[in-house]
Assembly symmetry: C2
Homo-oligomer: 605 residues x 2
């Protein structure tokens, strides 16, 4: 969700800030000796920092504190603001030895932040706090059941690890009970669907400390998803006239000096390796220069354009250790990359084709929670290439195609790549947090830097334009989105295990094993659960693993050569002839049917 | 061809050595002032080094020299050996100022190599040379037209770049004129089929200096071959119960200390990158440790074994600059790798299954020019793990399975991996030069080093054994073999372009374009040549590019919706209904038919 200013924001800010005071008042009722730190409103609620000395407070105290807060709300205490000078403030805060507050008061005055040396305080009931406000009129304005104490964390005073560690109590607070409930539901869902949690539970990927940080290892389940996405991309790109290439993952430093990524981009790259005594090689952070080299490997004619080179390419980015997270922020990734080299007059059609490909992918996957952002250059920034005409031409083309295609987009100045404007697809996760899932860039700079040309119809040499695109993003980022979007319940074509065979009784074993062989021969990912567990236990196991199709095979099915088909998340089951069942499975895979979504739960069987 | 000692070798050695003297005699006829270096027999012939001062000799002098050599042969000069001491030798060689020979004579005596200080000489006709012999009885024993002067190269005296540069004349020599002719034919073929030459001509791959050395970039044509091989491997491996994984290309140094590859193997690896201030990361030289980590990612039960983990994995080896060559020796490669974790009792069946997979691949590709070498440990070498019993057990298993499978193999002591015995598949190139194309290793050491275990039926914890295998080798090495094996003429399923459409006349253009779209939709790699060149020129272009299938489309074909199908290397062409043609193409691809080989030139159409 983009953070825009909203008329209700002021009121929400007041509510959360006032609740922070109410929390502190409740805490002081049970820990009168507690020393207060800061207590600001934050996203989704507020927190307050306390020094509890040797009488800590924990989550087990939350119900009592919440009750006390409710009582304070009912008491309709008025918030009353007033000012004092530093001496008066020190005296007042000194009566309960609030030394953190006193320290801060002195700093505000010393630094001239407190206007005219006057400090602002708010009082409600017995509670007093140094703060700027604003606040609600009285505590009774807090809506019923709109807040909830959430969790406890440690936090250094002033964020300085040499100062005391305080206890931070986080709380959630929304304008209404319903909004709190909705947030809690969403958060619960997000936690259940968290790709790191599901990635471990469903055995899709893991990290290993011996291998390194930010370097996921993909288990067979996750690899199956990668391979299916690649197969899809390869077919789509083949039909759309792309040509596949395969280029080295390392390269000499000179290539990035030429592109302009070195030295400026160096801090986002792994350090170089010194080879053959004097030669620096880098792990590549992007595939572009390698593709440019393929373009330049021989002379090109206008007849060859547009030349569309594609590669699922491994790239490496040195992300800070602290910012790494699951599959979303990693250091090694595999990108659904391509570069389209075309003449100026071809940009429009090629860009429209790329947009159509995006549309096909995203519609097919039922991904709609994204917005398009057209990122433009900032003429005042030195970061961007200096060609005013090119910027205008390229930005105009992109803008007009997006409008023609009816794409809803926002423009943002200063977010372009240094070599041209780009379209960013911003996808929201379940918590409404936005990430860039993919970009399309229009590049007028690199052809010059790499000396890329083509011989035009009239014999003249021209420079091509380049469209950079990666609709399926990196496997790492895209699959993290897919896991969370589907809560780990993948459609048949993407599912790590596509069919679980569950024989009932000894007499069905041979039939089950025959089906296992038949499905394997047809390249379906199948598992036969012939363990000695009970029927119900085996069903539960398959459901826990979110396997989309369960084929139950008992005496009747064996005799009739049929299967009883149970689908993930669907109550009814169906009995089908084996031939029909196999055909259906074929159709689910061949059509890449999104049969994990409610509307296709029983697709055309 | 393995270099084994052969009864004819002595005679061939004498022939080549005697011819070297005959060459030197001929050279001295035209350059009496020339100083002689060494003139030994070598593989395929002999050479002689000369110092020509300021009167050089070049290939343009070869016909004259060959004529003079023939005259010497006809003269039936006897080879007469005798001995002298150093002083006599110096005097004799001094008469024509043969100072290189004198230098060498002194060295032989000083180092005590000349027995009793006596030096051996051979004289034939007017020519005298210091040499050990043996020689033919007389020059008339040289068979007719059995030799040929080949080329000239520079060579430092004693291989020392600070000593004078001599002129080396290379010559070919075989026991008969026919054998010389056969060799020349083979060499001509090898040159035509050289994968570096064909790789450039057919636009399969190239190297770029800005990208780096030993790092081929694969063009669309070469990438198509890679992708087809991968698809084949993936299907075969899936049906054989392998599970695909995907693991990072870099890793912390500790992983290789654990495996034992560091520090010993360091000189074959790229240097480490220092990351996060204190952490060394390496480009991986092999995939094994990553797969071991996947095995170890959770507890394993005997029920899961054999666990077969496979990956087309990118690996990096630091080969010396001078030893790099085309695709055969590179620094970055992609390997058809897998590791099979199994219990001791399962080794036999798993190893036999692996051998069967090799057999299927090689038979299918009609690759028969290889031999199997069972590489055993050397109990006296410190290089090998110290467990005598394990070595015996593992070597015995491999030996008995190879015998059972009827594989013809040789044993070689000391060629094992340090962690276990291995089977090497040695493939011959067109010149008979042998390279290892692939190995199967049986590993009893790494499970201990990586703490790999499984819970056995009885609840005990056991260590698995590991089979390492890569039947399709690396893409780089395997495709270099395939290019040379097929002379760049690939079967339909592997061919970079599978069908060339050649319309004849304006009226066929629409039909040709329709076929282009139909074939593209069916994922065939197709090219429509609608250029303005003549029909014959377009046919020649397609043939030069070794495109396996040419569909010629004229007025008749358009009217009848048929195609005239011409196949690469086949004289007759056939007219087929479009539907039948499409079915045939489907069948060629689906069956991965080796339709580039003479016996399948017109496969079941």
């Amino acid at each position: 969700m983009s953070q825009q200013h909203h008329p209700d924001d002021d009121q929400l800010h007041k509510l959360r800030h006032s609740l922070a005071h109410i929390l502190a008042q409740a805490v002081l009722e049970v820990r009168p000796e507690a020393k207060l730190g800061f207590g600001p409103p934050v996203e989704n609620g507020f927190y307050y920092d306390f020094d509890f000395g040797d009488r800590p407070i924990g989550p087990e105290d939350f119900p009592d504190l919440e009750e006390r807060m409710q009582r304070i709300v009912k008491a309709r205490q008025e918030f009353e603001g007033f000012e004092q000078d530093l001496q008066e403030s020190e005296a007042m805060l000194g009566t309960t030895d609030q030394h953190y507050k006193i320290e801060y008061a002195r700093e505000l005055v010393e630094k001239g932040i407190a206007q005219g040396g006057r400090l602002t305080f708010f009082r409600n009931g017995p509670f007093l706090d140094m703060c700027e406000g604003p606040h609600l009129k009285h505590t009774g304005e807090v809506p019923k059941a709109c807040f909830k104490l959430d969790k406890i964390a440690g936090s250094y005073w002033r964020g300085d690890e040499h100062r005391p560690m305080l206890t931070r109590i986080y709380a959630l607070a929304f304008p209404s009970r319903d909004e709190l409930k909705e947030f809690l539901g969403r958060r619960e869902l997000a936690m259940q669907r968290d790709h790191k949690k599901l990635g471990a539970e469903l055995e899709l990927f893991f990290h290993d400390d011996d291998v390194g940080v930010g370097l996921p290892l993909w288990l067979p389940g996750g690899t199956a998803i990668r391979e299916e996405l690649e197969r899809w991309a390869k077919e789509e790109e083949f039909r759309a006239g792309y040509q596949r290439v395969s280029t080295p993952i390392i390269t000499r430093a000179g290539l990035y000096h030429r592109s302009g990524h070195l030295p400026y981009y160096a801090e986002s790259m792994y350090p170089p390796m010194l080879v053959d005594e004097h030669d620096e090689y880098y792990l590549r952070p992007m595939n572009c220069p390698h593709h440019h080299k393929i373009y330049a490997s021989r002379g090109r004619s206008y007849r060859e354009l547009p030349l569309r080179l594609c590669e699922y390419g491994n790239v490496f980015r040195y992300e800070k250790h602290g910012s790494l997270s699951g599959l979303l922020r990693v250091r090694a990734m595999c990108m659904n990359d391509a570069h389209i080299y075309c003449a100026y007059e071809q940009i429009g059609e090629e860009f429209a084709n790329v947009m159509a490909l995006y549309d096909r992918y995203y519609q097919h996957l039922h991904l709609s929670e994204f917005r398009a952002r057209l990122s433009l250059h900032d003429p005042d920034s030195p970061k961007f290439a200096k060609d005013v005409d090119e910027w205008r031409r390229c930005e105009d083309i992109m803008r007009s195609i997006l409008k023609e295609a009816g794409v809803d987009f926002e423009e943002e100045v200063g977010e372009a790549a240094f070599y041209g404007p780009k379209l960013d697809l911003q996808m929201k996760n379940l918590m409404g947090r936005e990430e860039t899932v993919s970009t399309v860039q229009l590049d007028f700079l690199m052809p010059g830097r790499f000396g890329l040309t083509f011989t035009d119809r009239d014999g003249s040499r021209q420079a091509p334009y380049i469209i950079h695109r990666a609709p399926l993003s990196t496997h790492e980022r895209f699959i993290s989105f897919l896991i969370e979007r589907f809560g780990g319940a993948f459609p048949t074509w993407l599912a790590p295990i596509q069919v679980a065979l569950i024989p009932v009784g000894e007499h069905a074993l041979a039939y089950a094993d025959e089906l296992r062989r038949t499905l394997t021969e047809r390249l379906f990912r199948v598992e036969l659960d012939d363990s000695s567990e009970t029927f119900n236990k085996r069903i539960r196991t398959a459901v826990t693993r979110k396997i989309p199709n369960l084929w139950i095979l008992g005496a009747e099915e064996t005799a009739a050569r049929s299967v009883t088909w149970r689908r993930y998340g669907v109550k009814e089951q169906q009995r089908l002839d084996l031939a029909k069942a196999l055909d259906t499975l074929d159709a689910l895979r061949a059509g890449r049917v999104m049969d994990n979504l409610p509307e296709t739960a029983w697709p055309q069987i």
